[in-house]
Each structure stands twice: as C-alpha cells, then as structure tokens.
Symmetry: C2
Subunit: 140 residues, 2 copies
DNA sequence: CGGACGATGCAATGCTATTGCATTGTTTCA
DNA sequence: TGAAACAATGCAATAGCATTGCATCGTCCG
C-alpha cells in the first residue's frame, strides 16, 4: 500500500492513478476550497484539462463538492466521509473573502431548509456569504 | 416628459439616454432576472458592450442587483424603490430553474441573518435555490 | 465657436470551461 | 501470451462570458 489516499479513492469507486492521488493530496493539504487554476498551480506541471476531468470525476463520485462563490471560477472542497453524489451530508454555508479571494467551508453553519410558496421543487440550496475572512479581518 | 422611465433614472442620478431607457424598459417588462445576453437579445440590435456598461451603471447606482446563480452568466433584476448601492432593501433569495434556466427573485423569502463564529465580517449574503420553477414543475 | 465631458460602438483581449481526438497504459479474456 | 477492450491522459481547438482600449459622437457650457 503505497499511498493511504488509495483507499479513499477506492471507497468512492474511483480508480487510483498518480494524477488523482496528487489532486487528492492537494485538496487534503489545503484547508480552503480550491479552483481548477489553484490546483493546477499547486501541482506544478499538471495538464489543466486532466485536472479538470479529475475534479469532475471526484464530484460525480461524491468525493468533493462544487462551490459557486461568484468569483468567476468554481471552487472544490472535500466532502465529509458520509457523502454520496445524490445525498450530501455536508450541506453547509460557504464564505468568500473579497480581500484574499479565498473560499472556505463553514461546516458548522447549516444551510437552512426553506419552504417555498407555490409549486417550486427545490433540488439544491446554496448559501454564500461574502466579506472578510478571519485572517483578513484581523489584519485590518 | 417623453418616457415615464426618465424619472426613475433621474431619481438614481443616472443620466437618461435612449439606450438606458430601452434597457430599463426591458427589465421592467420581464418578470424574470435577465443576463447580459438576454437583454441584448430582447433589444434586437444593441451593442453588447454598451448594454454591459449600462447594467454596470445601474448596479452601481442601486437600480438593479446582481444575481450569481451559478449558471455561468450573471443575472440582473430591478431593485425595490428604497434600495441604495450600499444598503439594499431587497435582500431576498433567488431561484434558478435547472430546466428552463430562468432565474427569479423570491421577494417573500428573506435571506437569513447568520452569526458566524470567529472574526468573520460578513458584507453580503446570497441564498440561491435550484430546482424546478412553478411552470416547469407543473409541466412535468 | 470651441473645449470638456460623458456615452457609445467597434476591436481586441483575458479568463474559465469544455470538447475532439490521438496516444498511452492497463485490464480482460480467448 | 497476445490481442482486443477500456480507461486515462495530454495536446489542440473551441465556446462563452466578461472586460478593457481606443476612437468617435453628441451634448452641455463657457
Ligand atoms: Mn463546503
Ligand atoms: Mn432579486
Ligand atoms: Zn481573506
Ligand atoms: Zn423553469
């Protein structure tokens, strides 16, 4: 067993490959949510498209979730262990810092369940807050 | 007084021009939030960049608000009369239909005020729900 | 009239996401 | 074992949205 990450991938029915292990490591190592460009940069010399498809596979298998924070680029973050592509356990809010442009998960802030008037059928709810993150707020 | 919309623009300190009156009319006529491409299409032969700058001006003056619904394109919708660029009165949720790709304001659904742990400074909160709109849900 | 300023429109560019296709590598099975 | 089948990769190309540069036009003053 070379990498402990292999089990993580296999558990989600993702064939482990060197590239996928590298992307997973980067996601595990960084606390903030990462965009495609972020991952590409952190990996050094990785092909952008392969990383893109890796993240797409991870999303489809329930290993990561997508965060649309309005920054223009979709961010990705690891899911909780219990998540599946259909039923995510980690339905939490996200925070986008307008100063350092970092996006972070707020695992303690649950997305509220809201009853809509009329015949709306809600499939997904996203709650994004913008402002200054803890670092930037204290840095002035 | 040629157009009744002129007063609306003047009240927001926006110089009325033919293009701006046309864009405002389109926004008033359509209940759903509109993207830049939507407005361009509805206007017929309008220059995309001019419409873009018109919407930017409208946003800066507090006449419309931006909606980032994750569709890839930013949507725009008219604000309530009391809104200013700094203090929006209409802090409501939005709904994006995954079938017809229309985005609508939910004026009756207020964005919840959420206290964040730590030193976060929230400037703005966005609550977007995805699913089937009333039309698409009843159409099956 | 002539300058100042704002609005407009065309061209060009940047950035993100996505697809096509050839190649490589690995698994499967006769 | 060897060939077919399949998945993953990487380069090229494309699409779509947003934004900037710059020249032009029009209007408002002085
Ligand atoms: Mn998250
Ligand atoms: Mn709205
Ligand atoms: Zn920050
Ligand atoms: Zn719909």
């Amino acid at each position: 067993m070379a990498h402990p990450q292999e089990d993580t991938l296999i558990a989600r029915q993702i064939t482990p490959t060197p590239m996928r292990l590298l992307v997973l490591e980067v996601l595990q190592r960084h606390p903030a949510a990462l965009s495609l460009a972020d991952v590409e940069l952190l990996l050094g010399h990785a092909d952008r498209i392969t990383v893109h498809r890796t993240l797409k596979t991870f999303t489809e298998k329930g290993l990561v979730h997508r965060i649309e924070d309005g920054s223009g680029a979709v961010k990705f973050a690891l899911c909780e262990p219990g998540c599946t592509p259909e039923h995510h356990q980690d339905l939490h809010a996200h925070f986008f810092c307008t100063r350092c442009r970092e996006t972070s998960c707020l695992p303690t802030v649950a997305v509220p369940i809201i009853a809509l008037p009329g015949a709306y059928q809600v499939q997904e709810t996203s709650l994004v807050m913008k402002g200054l993150c803890e670092n930037c707020a204290s840095a002035g």
